[in-house]
Structure formats: structure tokens, C-alpha cells
């Protein structure tokens, strides 16, 4: 039985190699252990149980890996078609009128990377001041400035969350993103959860990372949801580094007490000083004083969360909550004399997934305004 058992395990390990590297790096050992537990249990249940385990595993391997391999197959097909086209073009030109058609064939080859949907990215780990390693990746022209940085650590955690946005920003703009401490490929910390790290610590890790990676100043920061508060805090601490900002359906520093005025049920922590401090929210009735006359675009969702999402609130309270959110966006746009407010059709709070093109457009425009102001 032992030998047979080992053969099962080897077969499973082989199938596992088809899964993504990312998944295996983080959970490979545990996945193998879970399979061994499952197989041991099935062993006691007899051949039918073992067969059931394998049918599930084959099913999930096909489901999980097919999209990735289909994508690769697609790329292979495109590459083959391109290669055939180039070869035929060259052969044809060789047979007919000399060198000029070869130039034509070469220009096709050069234009192909530009039309590829994925910008060239380069990711590396950098050690930041508190000893943690953080992952950062950039796309676009390395010589271009300002550097656009999509922020993580509050609101969103890992660089991958911004992938759709990063793909839509033109390659003439340098765009970087990173995994916050505790998320993705950056160092994981036992506690607190990455989203609960104090905001000042997150800001200082960002600053240290940008320095370690020698990102070209100045920066345009992009922050979503609670990430809006994060990038305002960053601008406040390092104003000389920041040339422009894009807020993606941003949270607001006053929102805790303003929303508690609608219903105290919404967040039991609305008056908890530690919670407020660690997330950059202001205490009861304290107003935001932040102001920065730099290029700034506020992107606001148009699809509101349904009232059923807030059990316990009346329709009136729910409407008041949505109105308050809108007021916050209007207020943020007025925090710079260059501020613009844009309502993004077809987008809820998850704009980075629903309308990445709208975020990329805003980035392009802020960068354009920065250039114009220089």
C-alpha cells in the first residue's frame, strides 16, 4: 500500500505543477499536505472513494488551468502567425524588388510589442527601513516623469489589483505599483492584518520603498477607497515629492463621524480614538484642513450600493448615506484649485475592475497637467 500511496502522491505533485507559480509559492506545501490527508481518508473508504478524489482533482485541474493555457496557446498562435507573416514577407521581397519590402516587414515586427495588451513590467523585492521586503513592479518608459504610483496598503493590498489599470495607461508614462507589507509577494507579518496596519506606518513604508527603488521624482499617486486617505496623508508628509493625485471613489477623513450622525449602528468604532488614528479618520466634528493646489482628479462611482446592503437602515438613512458619500467627493475635488470631479458611468466602488479605462484616462490627464505646469 505504501508504494501505491506514494505513486498517488507523485501523480498529484505532477498535476500540481500545472497550477500557477504564485499559488504554489504561497500554498504549495499545504496543498500537498491536504491532498495526503484526503487520500489517507479515501484509502479507508476503498477504491470508490479514491476514484472520487481523483475525479474531483482532475476536474479542478482542468477548470483552473485551462484559461491560463488557452491564453498561452493564443499567444503561441499569434506568434506563429506573425513569424509566418514575416518569413513570407521576407521571402516575397527577396524574390521581387530588393530591400524596401524588407523594411516594411521589419516595421511590422517592431510594432507588434506596442500593440500587445500587456506592458513590459519589471518586478523586484526591495528592503524597506523596518527590515521588511516589499515587492514593486513598474511598466512604461523608465525615463518618463512624473512617476505614477498606484497605492496599496489601505483600500487595496496587492499590485495585481491594479493590473487592468496599469495595462491601460499608455507606455509613455512610467507606472509603478507594489504589494503592501502583509500582502502578495511582500513580506507577510503575523499581525495585524495588512489592512489594519497604522496609516503612518504604511506611509513610512511607502516612502522607504520609493527611495529604495530609486523611483524618479516627482510622483503622481493614485489611491482607491481608504487609499485616498492614504495618499493625502503621504502628500501631507512629503509635499515636495507629489506632483498630482487621483482619487478613486475615495474615502473621506470626516466620514466616520458624519456617517455616525446618520446611524451609529454603521460602525461601532466611529468614536474609538485608536481606530480613527490608525486609519487616518478624524474625531467627532473635526474638519479636514488638507489642501493642495496640484493637479487632482476625483473619480466618483455612479452605481450606488443597494440599501439591502445595510440591513437595519431605513430607506431615508440609506439615501442620506449615499448623499454623504457624494458630498465627500465634491469636497475632495475642491481641495485643489485644479481639482476636477468626474462621475464614472457604469462603475461602483470597485472602479479598478469595473472601469480601469476611466482611471487610466485620469492618470493620463493629471500627468499631462503636470507637464503643462512645469
Amino acid at each position: 500500500m505504501n508504494r501505491l500511496y506514494r505513486i498517488h502522491c507523485c501523480l498529484f505533485d505532477f498535476l500540481l505543477t500545472f497550477q500557477s507559480d504564485d499559488l504554489l509559492a504561497r500554498y504549495g506545501d499545504e496543498i500537498r499536505l491536504v491532498f495526503r490527508d484526503e487520500l489517507s481518508d479515501a484509502w479507508r473508504g476503498g477504491p470508490t472513494a479514491i476514484l472520487k478524489v481523483w475525479s474531483d482533482i482532475l476536474g479542478e485541474t482542468i477548470t483552473l488551468t485551462t484559461p491560463r493555457y488557452a491564453e498561452r496557446l493564443g499567444l503561441l498562435l499569434v506568434a506563429s502567425v506573425l513569424a509566418t507573416g514575416l518569413t513570407l514577407g521576407t521571402v516575397f521581397s527577396f524574390a521581387s524588388i530588393g530591400s524596401s519590402p524588407i523594411v516594411h516587414a521589419c516595421s511590422q515586427e517592431e510594432s507588434s510589442p506596442q500593440s500587445s495588451p500587456l506592458p513590459a513590467t519589471s518586478g523586484s523585492l526591495f528592503q524597506v527601513s523596518d527590515g521588511h521586503k516589499m515587492f514593486l513592479e513598474c511598466s512604461g518608459d523608465p525615463a518618463a516623469g512624473p512617476t505614477v504610483i498606484v497605492a496599496n496598503g489601505k483600500g487595496l493590498g496587492a499590485a495585481d489589483a491594479w493590473a487592468l489599470v496599469q495595462q491601460k495607461v499608455p507606455p509613455s508614462i512610467r507606472t509603478c505599483s507594489y504589494d503592501a507589507v502583509g500582502a502578495g509577494r511582500s513580506d507577510h507579518v503575523p499581525s495585524p492584518h495588512p489592512e489594519l496596519r497604522p496609516i503612518d506606518q504604511v506611509v513610512s513604508e511607502m516612502h522607504s520603498l520609493f527611495q529604495a527603488a530609486r523611483l524618479k521624482q516627482s510622483y503622481v499617486l493614485v489611491g482607491a477607497s481608504a487609499g485616498g486617505i492614504l495618499i493625502r496623508r503621504y502628500q501631507q508628509q512629503y509635499p515636495h515629492e507629489i506632483a498630482g493625485l487621483v482619487f478613486v471613489d475615495s474615502a473621506h477623513e470626516e466620514q466616520e463621524w458624519r456617517m455616525a450622525a446618520i446611524s451609529k449602528e454603521l460602525d461601532p468604532n466611529w468614536n474609538n480614538p485608536e481606530f480613527l488614528r490608525e486609519n487616518g479618520f478624524l474625531p467627532d466634528h473635526q474638519k479636514l484642513t488638507w489642501h493642495a493646489d496640484i493637479p487632482l482628479i476625483v473619480l466618483e462611482r455612479t452605481e450606488k450600493p443597494p440599501c439591502s446592503a445595510f440591513p437595519g437602515l431605513s430607506q431615508q438613512q440609506c439615501d442620506a448615506l449615499n448623499d454623504e458619500w457624494h458630498n465627500h467627493q465634491v469636497d475632495l475635488a475642491a481641495r485643489s484649485k485644479y481639482g476636477q470631479l468626474r462621475s464614472v458611468a457604469g462603475s461602483g466602488h470597485f472602479m479598478h475592475q469595473q472601469r480601469p479605462d476611466a482611471i487610466a484616462d485620469a492618470v493620463r490627464e493629471v500627468v499631462h497637467q503636470v507637464h503643462a505646469g512645469q
Binding site: 500540481l16 497550477q19 504564485d22 499559488l23 504561497r26 500554498y27 506545501d29 499545504e30 496543498i31 500537498r32 499536505l33 491536504v34 491532498f35 490527508d37 484526503e38 474531483d56 482533482i57 476536474g59 479542478e60 485541474t61 477548470t63 483552473l64 483600500g155 493590498g157 496587492a158 495585481d160 489589483a161 500582502a183 502578495g184 507577510h188 503575523p190 492584518h193 495588512p194 489592512e195 489594519l196 477607497s225 481608504a226 474615502a251 466616520e256 456617517m259 454603521l266 460602525d267 461601532p268 468604532n269 466611529w270 481606530f275 486609519n279 450600493p305 443597494p306 439591502s308 446592503a309 445595510f310 440591513p311 458619500w325 461602483g348 466602488h349 470597485f350
Partner: protein, 120 residues
């Protein structure tokens, strides 16, 4: 303790939850668990109608962790297994998903398409 509010809006737009995410959160609702226990409990909770394999389980765990819905704890005393627990945000999202399902059931009942309690 309950620091969920800042993610409310993000979270609620995740609804309805994909079935694997729903069952992983559901399995973690009572207490923290390691991977294999989650797998067994999913089978039990769904009455055998739904099960996940190891790779699907960890693909889901990875996604939920990256979204801040579950947390991981490494237990250095016992091999290389981590245990997983709901974060306050995860709890809230699961609650909202149940609420959404409840509303659908209520609707079906009001339209007299389903007579819950009269079956069997």
C-alpha cells in the same frame, strides 16, 4: 475589535459570492480552521452537494486573503499548516450574503413559487 466599516462598500459590491468563496467563509464562521478541515466541513455544510479539491480550496483562500476577508496564522509547532479565520470584514460580507439569500427566498415565498416549510 470590529474594524469593518471602512471596507463596507467595497465588500458589499462583491455580492453575490462565488460558491467556493461562500462555502469557505461559511466553514470559517464558527471558528478558525486549517485547510483540510475547511474542505471536510464544506462537504458537510453543503450536504454533499458541493466539494472543493485542494487546488481550488487554496486558490479561493488566496483570493479571500488578498481581499482581507480572512486572516492566516502560522502554527510553527505543527508541520507547515496555517490556520485561517474570518476577519471582521469577512464576517460582515458573509452576513450580507445570507441577508441577500434571505431576501431572494422571501421573494420566492411572496410570489408563491416556493413554500418553505411545507416541503418534505
Amino acid at each position: 475589535m470590529a474594524r469593518e466599516h471602512q471596507f463596507d462598500d467595497d465588500l458589499l459590491e462583491n455580492l453575490p459570492l462565488p460558491i467556493a468563496s461562500f462555502f469557505v467563509l461559511f466553514a470559517l464562521a464558527e471558528e478558525e480552521k486549517h485547510g483540510y478541515r475547511i474542505m471536510q466541513d464544506i462537504r458537510e455544510l453543503s450536504g454533499g452537494t458541493f466539494s472543493v479539491g485542494p487546488a481550488t480550496l487554496y486558490t479561493t483562500i488566496k483570493k479571500l486573503f488578498d481581499q482581507g476577508l480572512i486572516s492566516e496564522t502560522s502554527d510553527s509547532t505543527e508541520d507547515r499548516r496555517r490556520t485561517y479565520a474570518l476577519t471582521p470584514a469577512g464576517k460582515r460580507l458573509l452576513g450580507a450574503e445570507f441577508h441577500r439569500q434571505q431576501e431572494l427566498l422571501d421573494l420566492a415565498r411572496r410570489k408563491k413559487l416556493l413554500r418553505i416549510g411545507e416541503q418534505k
